[in-house]
């Protein structure tokens, strides 16, 4: 090993506080990956000024608002669940959508098309070829009213505006990476309780909320993990979290602030309150035969009631 490598090795050790010698090269790889992602991250962030404009917009049918964006993301989540896509597709779709909305003034009537195109781009980037549905199927299932060619045109516009930066480090990538690092660095037996699937669902819930688009993916990912560690009382992992926090250059203020926001969001998500009515009323199309048979019994004009204990008179 040359000196530079040794230096890096010790750097890595110092940063993360490993205890087991043997895992060091693996950890080193992960740390390198983390560094790369942290460096790339700013290029894939939505423009804050654009997001702020959405936040302050009024509901007048012309401007994009927070409510509209949140409904659209919910629709994309439903589609993602329905088609059985991985969390990557959904998270990437939201990232593309937020980035685009941060750059361009989108009219509410085009939001459906923009959202679906972002979704389609994300699916094509993350899913295997045979899982990618036809564009026409997507449009039909989501009950949108534009054509495939509209969608193709919109796709080009999006790619152009985002300068073809489709696949970057997303909040999900950070979440997985942090999770791996914690599992590798900590010697605690209870670290397995930090369940990645659970964290991913929590992340999906957060993605639905516009407020989290304003922060960096790395901060959000670590906040989610920090909250889970707190909830599950895995105190032995706190030191590792702190190390990761330092390495990612996340301030205490940011971490605590966003951890609390995540807590609020998750509390609301698991409450029994339903989020209906949604902005788009679902269309229930049934076949002619079935529609003809609905409520058949209402078509009988009943005979006049005969009281049980009295005679009937006209």
């Amino acid at each position: 090993m040359d000196r530079k490598r040794v230096g890096e090795l010790s750097e890595g050790r110092k940063m993360i506080g490993i205890e087991t010698q043997g895992a060091s090269s693996k950890i080193l790889t992960l740390v390198n990956q983390l560094n790369v992602q942290l460096e790339q991250e700013p290029k894939y962030q939505p423009r804050i000024s654009g997001l702020k404009a959405i936040e302050s917009a009024h509901e007048n049918g012309i401007r994009m608002t927070v409510r509209l964006r949140e409904f659209e993301v919910k629709d994309l989540l439903s589609l993602s669940q329905f088609f059985g896509f991985s969390t990557d597709a959904f998270v990437l779709a939201v990232s593309l959508l937020d980035r685009f909305l941060g750059l361009m003034k989108v009219q509410p009537k085009h939001l459906c098309c923009v959202g679906l195109c972002c979704f389609y781009l994300a699916v094509k980037a993350t899913e295997e070829e045979h899982s990618v549905p036809l564009a026409s199927d997507l449009i039909r299932i989501s009950q949108c009213r534009f054509t495939v060619s509209d969608m193709m045109r919109m796709e080009n516009i999006i790619l152009e505006k985002l300068r073809c930066r489709v696949r970057g480090p997303t909040v999900l990538d950070f979440l997985r990476l942090y999770h791996k690092l914690i599992l590798n660095c900590s010697s605690s037996e209870r670290k397995k309780m930090l369940n990645l699937e659970r964290l991913e669902s929590q992340l999906k819930a957060c993605n639905c909320r516009f407020v989290f688009s304003k922060t960096k993916g790395s901060i959000l990912a670590l906040s989610i993990i920090a909250l889970e560690v707190q909830t599950q009382k895995l105190h032995e992992l706190t030191e590792t979290i702190e190390n990761l926090q330092q390495h990612s250059k996340i301030s205490d203020h940011d971490l605590f602030h966003w951890r609390d926001r995540v807590a609020e969001c998750l509390a609301e998500y698991s409450s029994s309150r339903c989020s209906r009515p949604s902005s788009k009323k679902l269309m229930w199309i049934v076949s002619r035969r079935t529609s003809g048979q609905l409520h058949s019994y209402h078509r009988i004009t009943p005979l006049p009631t005969i009281p049980e204990t009295a005679t009937y008179t006209e």
Binding site: A205, C274, L282, I300, L303
Partner: protein, 484 residues
């Protein structure tokens, strides 16, 4: 039989085979005649009597009775040329009697009652002839109509006016409209002529309404008719009409409901759902059931369990009807009752939703378009979501019909918004289950592959050792022979 058949539209050809009626289209239809008519040696003629309105008051009643008696003569309508003049006389007379009764008061003297009832009895009470068409399919075939309808219609009309007359006295009439009368009336409900059944329905409704003393008897007889229909004959043309009358009776039940009525619901109305010809009277039957539940909500659980017990397994059209009825019941259900039946009911609905017959699936999925049902599901989503989830998720991938897939999306989306965290849990466990199953499949395949390889190795080893053995034997033999 001629080959020229009626044009059958694609919608009617459900399974690609032509209906019986198409084959029978060429067959000539004969209208049925009255079995009461016996051929007479000499033709009977009736002569037109002077009009009632012109008769002096003192004679009016006698003239009235004379005309009634005249109308007791029955004519043969199968023969379209005989007795034309007399038929016309009878028709005009009947018409006149109807008008007379309607527009005059004080007509119904006590002496008139027996004459009136006799006239009615003569004209309508008859043994219905056996069906012209032994495979009569009420949905497909044209019914055989009553040949004597021109007269019979007026007799029924007269009967109705009689019952509805303001001067009508049930206390006098009950001597003539007795149990025997009612029994014969009920038998007529089996007539194939829908116009006759319609009149009978109204007539019986009025009789039930006005004769308190006959009510228990009528209910009992209807009971018997239905039970015979369900368990013995599977044939009766008047089920729908009788059910309509029952609907108005059920509507008038006093609370608390008598045990007899509850028995009727569970022992007769629920089993009635199993009849082959349910389509003909399902609307009326569903109406009766819902009326019962509106009277006494505690009947909901036994009713739903009864329907689930008889749930159709092979007839999809019936399944669609049952689903329709369930929706009507859910429309009026009380939330506390809903909780009692939600689990078995939604297990059945989950099966319906994944039914390959698209109409069944469609009808079941359409429940989610009903606001009230949605609110019930929402309040109990913890219990219902896990039951529905598996079927919905599976058919979103597997169902052949794109309309169904689109409806499933609507339903899944609604459920997702109802209880997001539960939905996530279910998705995760469903996926985990699928992974486990896939792994098992792979393991099983591996096992078979290994077994095959093992068998191959063994057979090779065996044949190899056989070769060595034979070789040894040959060697031994050759060495023996060479040694010789």
């Amino acid at each position: 039989m001629s080959a020229a058949a009626a044009v059958v539209t694609a919608a009617e050809k459900v399974d690609g085979f032509t209906r019986k009626s198409v084959r029978k289209a060429a067959r000539q239809k004969r209208s049925q005649g009255s079995s009461q008519f016996r051929s007479r040696s000499s033709p009977v003629e009736i002569l037109l009597l002077p009009p009632l309105k012109d008769a002096p008051n003192a004679e009016q009643h006698d003239l009235f009775c004379q005309k009634l008696q005249q109308c007791c003569v029955i004519f043969d309508f199968m023969d379209s040329v005989s007795d034309l003049k007399s038929k016309e006389v009878k028709r005009a007379t009947l018409n006149e009697l109807v008008d007379f009764l309607t527009s005059n008061r004080g007509v119904l003297l006590e002496q008139a009652y027996p004459e009136i009832v006799k006239m009615i009895t003569c004209n309508i009470f008859r043994t219905l002839p056996p069906s012209d068409n032994p495979d009569f399919d009420p949905e497909e075939d044209e019914p055989s109509l009553e040949a004597a309808w021109p007269h019979m219609q007026l007799v029924y009309e007269f009967f109705l006016r009689f019952l509805e007359c303001p001067d009508f006295q049930p206390s006098i009439a009950k001597r003539f409209i007795d149990q025997k009368f009612v029994l014969q009336l009920l038998e007529l409900f089996d007539s194939e002529d829908p116009r006759e059944r319609d009149f009978l329905k109204t007539v019986l409704h009025r009789i039930y309404g006005k004769f308190l003393g006959l009510r228990a008897f009528i209910r009992k007889q209807i009971n018997n008719i239905f039970l015979r229909f369900i368990y013995e004959t599977d044939h009766f043309n008047g089920v729908a009409e009788l059910l309509e009358i029952l609907g108005s009776i059920i509507n008038g039940f006093a609370l608390p409901l008598k045990a007899e009525h509850k028995q009727f619901l569970m022992k007769v109305l629920i089993p009635l759902h199993t009849a082959k010809g349910l389509a003909l009277f399902h609307a009326q039957l569903a109406y009766c059931v819902v009326q019962f539940l509106e009277k006494d909500a505690t009947l909901t659980e036994p009713v739903i369990r009864g329907l689930l017990k008889f749930w159709p397994k092979t007839v999809s059209q019936k399944e669609v009807m049952y689903l329709g009825e369930v929706e009507e019941i859910l429309d009026v259900i009380e939330p506390s009752q809903f909780k009692k039946i939600q689990e078995p009911l939604f297990k059945q609905i989950a099966k319906c939703v994944s039914n390959p017959h698209f109409q069944v699936a469609e009808r079941a999925l359409y429940f989610w378009n009903n606001e009230y049902i949605l609110s019930l599901i929402e309040d109990n989503s913890e219990k219902i979501l896990p039951i529905m989830f598996g079927s919905l998720y599976r058919i979103s991938k597997e169902h052949w019909n794109p309309t169904i897939v689109a409806l499933v999306y609507n339903v899944l989306k609604t459920l997702m918004e109802m209880n997001g965290s539960l939905f996530d849990e279910l998705t995760a466990s469903y996926k985990a289950e699928r992974q486990r199953e896939k792994k098992k499949e792979q393991e099983r395949e591996e096992l078979w592959k290994n077994l095959e390889e093992l068998q191959l190795q063994r057979s090779q080893a065996l044949s190899g050792s056989l070769q060595i053995n034979t070789h040894n034997v040959e060697n031994a033999q050759s060495s023996k022979s060479s040694a010789k």
